[in-house]
Symmetry: C2
């Protein structure tokens, strides 16, 4: 996987946090080499097809998930995740999906992203490709972006 593509995915996630949520984001050092990653409490799974195929998984803990939903709803405090909360998290996934497709297209890489599916609960994801993980810290909590993509021609 090309560094330019990984950077594009990270830019996409960062842009949503900065432009939509108006929070500062500090990306941590990416790490790789794992074929399994923890889901934390809440994970948004985006399938990718086209010139790259695989998944992008955005994982957060419960507190960050509630902060994301609260921020999306104009700053209200979210005490418990309900159907509206899950719907908002899916919408967050749609934003990341759209932003990812746009940022990759700037690198001349054309992809389709599936509608998001959200995983709730502590579990692990296994992929045949090793994941590249970009941890991001922000004032509304930490976000791990797990990237498992390969060139469709490889």
């Amino acid at each position: 996987m090309k560094a330019a593509h990984i950077n594009a995915v990270c830019r996409a996630a960062r842009n949503i946090m900065v432009d939509h949520f108006k929070v500062d984001v500090e990306p941590d050092k990416p790490y790789t080499g794992k074929s399994a990653v923890p889901s934390n409490d809440v994970s948004v799974v985006l399938g990718v097809s086209g010139e790259l195929t695989g998944q992008i998984i955005c994982s957060v803990n419960n507190g960050t998930a509630k902060n994301i939903v609260g921020t999306m709803m104009g700053g209200m405090e979210v005490k418990e995740m309900d159907d509206m909360g899950w719907s908002a998290i899916q919408e967050f996934g749609n934003w990341v999906a759209g932003s990812t497709a746009t940022e990759l297209s700037k690198e001349s890489c054309i992809i389709d992203v599936t509608p998001p599916v959200v995983n709730e609960g502590s579990s692990r994801f296994h992929s045949s490709k090793t994941f590249i993980t970009v941890p991001m810290k922000s004032s509304i909590g930490s976000l791990d972006v797990h990237i498992s993509l390969e060139s469709a021609t490889s």
Copy 2:
């Protein structure tokens, strides 16, 4: 979602069980109306794009997962899931993906399926579309096929 497409996905999963694993499969009555489904212990998540977009999630319990891996490995007993086991479950997902694309193409519906990602652990999946679930019973265990697909033009 058209019944013909749901039936094609079910045929795809059933064909893998019957043709590759040589087990009898008895599909149960499908049900729908849920925006969240349990992952059981092991779920294979397949992203779908093209004329249909969304996810197909195949969920099994630990016992069935071990039976699937054992059957794929020529009938050996699998006591614990290791890296080879997870790799085999991913391969099972690839078989279902390929079979699904083929069966849907027979219904003049052209899709791309992403490489599978496997979820391990008890959790739940939320989707913006309600899931259609087809439970299947076989001699190596039960398999739930959760389908959340929408027409790309809708």
